[in-house]
């Protein structure tokens, strides 16, 4: 039973990060190959606090979120201000992730590439509580005027700007919110596994996050979150097939683009299905 609980908890932690990326890629329409970096920043910021200074997890978790949110400004301000093409932005944020990995591997406070052993703080209460709060806050946020503005930007950035939307500000806001959610996921992950290493937050993890968002459906919250759960839980249950997980992700991305670009629940929510409403 312990094992099953563990798997479900990991899946829930992953769901928070995917929720974050869904806000950015699914709703604002920017493609990121570096969101694992924000998960990493959340993990390391909170981990360093609890490890070196015995900060209670109650404070370390929001600190991890804040660190991730603030660090997103470092990459977001220059690149979003310059209105980079979407593929240029993707590679720029990938570069940010790489630069971060190099830093984490060479700093002494993070114990370098060997990794940091922290205490296990995040029990099911913390994880489920954070997940529920994140889902609620994100739902509210996307229902508010910001959600409408994000979707307008995704649909047509030029028309959005000519509707009076400050593209830079709104895209940056979307990035900060999404990075903050990833930071929460990272802080929970660090104190669940009780061990973090720079290699846990690289392109591979970013690709997994992205695969969940795209498979779950652009413009949907429930789709990516459901897929994130399946994507984490399924391979854990089928340990022997673990090796084939990544090739399967890759193949899935190609197949989705060819046969079902809208993903599982593109532009819809789970609740819409019950109401029989499509949008």
């Amino acid at each position: 039973m312990d094992y099953e609980i563990n798997v479900v908890m990991l899946a829930c932690i992953n769901m928070i990060a995917v929720l974050g990326l869904a806000v950015f890629t699914g709703f604002t329409g920017l493609f990121s190959l570096g969101h694992a970096a924000f998960v990493g920043i959340g993990a390391y910021a909170s981990g360093v606090l609890t490890y070196h200074w015995n900060v209670p997890f109650f404070f370390a978790l929001p600190a991890g979120m804040a660190a991730a949110g603030l660090s997103s400004l470092v990459i977001g301000i220059p690149t979003l201000r310059a209105k980079l093409r979407s593929d240029y932005f993707a590679i720029a944020i990938l570069g940010f992730g790489e630069a971060l990995r190099v830093c984490l591997e060479n700093l002494s406070i993070t114990n370098g590439a060997r990794g940091l052993s922290v205490n296990e703080f995040s029990g099911p209460g913390w994880i489920l509580g954070t997940l529920a709060l994140s889902l609620l806050a994100t739902r509210n946020f996307l229902k508010s005027r910001f959600g409408t503005l994000f979707v307008a930007i995704r649909e047509d950035p030029i028309a959005a700007e000519m509707a009076g939307i400050d593209l830079f500000k709104m895209r940056l806001l979307s990035l900060v919110v999404s990075a903050t959610l990833c930071g929460a996921s990272g802080a929970l992950l660090a104190h669940r596994l009780a061990f973090i290493q720079p290699v846990m937050f690289t392109l591979t993890q970013s690709t997994q996050l992205l695969a969940s968002v795209i498979a779950g459906g652009i413009g949907s919250v429930s789709g990516p979150v459901i897929v994130a759960f399946v994507f984490t839980a399924l391979p854990e249950m089928l340990r022997s097939l673990n090796m084939w997980r990544l090739p399967a992700y890759g193949l899935l991305l190609v197949l989705i683009m060819i046969y079902r670009p809208q993903g599982l629940l593109g532009y819809r929510e789970l609740s819409d299905l019950f109401r029989g409403r499509a949008r």
Binding site: R85, D87, I91, G95, F96, L246, P247, G250, M257
Partner: protein
């Protein structure tokens, strides 16, 4: 010391250029960044490795085999993963995601089947060193540099002098118009992907000889992508210049500052350049038509 650094930088830059050409070619005709290019380079290296170690072919045959193999792989990649999207006129973001998927798939298939072992090519160059103006240069570096520049020059001639090349340039300007004029665009795109793959094959073999062959060696193509962006995506001279500039600057940084900072430097440079010169040094204006 400085001269040696410069020449080493140029030789690395030559390989970057060779890889950057592939990104630029495909970008110029389909306007998307083919992130699967790195995986094609990696597979090109494995093909070369198989020819060299299993069949004991010489360098010339190994390179030719890898050129053909990677070229065909690249065409196959386009047929399977992009052609449907292209005909549906899907947004370039979709093509990019599909390319990303191919890259993840191919890389991890190699992991799952061949494994993560590092393989070395047989010694084609016996670590020979040549003396140029008082600095010692490895024969391999010189050879790689010469071949890279030669291949890019040959490509330039092909694009500017032959009928097919001119058709490609027409396609770069206006794909729809080109197909209305009776050009078989599917064939044209296959040729472009073959060329990109062929360059990937050469680059893969050189990378494999210089370093090792392993599943994630395609990672270095992120540098090539940066080089292509520096030069201006879609521009062949841009790919050459971008590759050389990046190679030299990077080598200077790792020699005089710190080798740890090298990759951080490349990405920072990319971001800075994109902000000041979003179209690169020689790229076309990509401002969206309103």
């Amino acid at each position: 010391m400085f001269l040696q650094t410069l020449v080493t930088g140029l030789s690395i830059g030559g390989i970057y250029s060779l890889m950057a050409v592939g990104y630029s070619l495909i970008f110029s005709i389909l306007s998307f960044s083919n992130f699967a290019h790195g995986a094609v380079i990696m597979l090109g290296a494995y093909m070369g490795l198989a020819l060299a170690t299993q069949l004991h072919w010489g360098l010339g045959l190994v390179v030719s085999g890898s050129v053909v193999g990677a070229g065909l792989l690249s065409v196959f990649n386009e047929r399977v993963a992009y052609s449907v999207l292209r005909r549906r006129r899907a947004p370039s973001l979709f093509l990019m995601i599909s390319a990303m998927g191919c890259s993840v798939f191919l890389e991890n298939m190699v992991y799952a089947t061949i494994g993560s072992r590092f393989y070395a090519f047989p010694e084609f160059f016996k670590r020979k060193v040549v003396d140029v103006w008082g600095s010692s240069l490895s024969l391999l570096d010189l050879f790689a540099f010469t071949v890279s520049i030669g291949a890019i020059f040959a490509l330039h001639l092909f694009i500017t002098r032959t009928k097919t090349g001119i058709a490609i340039r027409a396609g770069v300007n206006d794909m729809t118009m080109c197909s209305l004029m009776g050009v078989n665009t599917d064939r044209l795109i296959s040729i472009v992907f073959f060329l990109a793959g062929a360059f990937a094959g050469v680059a893969g073999v050189f990378l494999g000889i210089k370093y090792f062959v392993y599943p994630t060696m395609g990672w270095v193509t992120n540098k090539a992508y940066i080089a292509a962006v520096i030069g201006g995506l879609g521009s062949l001279p841009g790919a050459l210049v971008g590759g050389l500039i990046l190679g030299v600057l990077e080598t200077l940084v790792s020699t005089y500052l710190s080798s740890v900072l090298r990759d951080v430097f490349s990405f920072t440079m990319l971001i800075a350049l994109l902000i000041w010169l979003p179209n690169g040094l020689m790229g076309r204006d990509t401002e969206e038509k309103v």
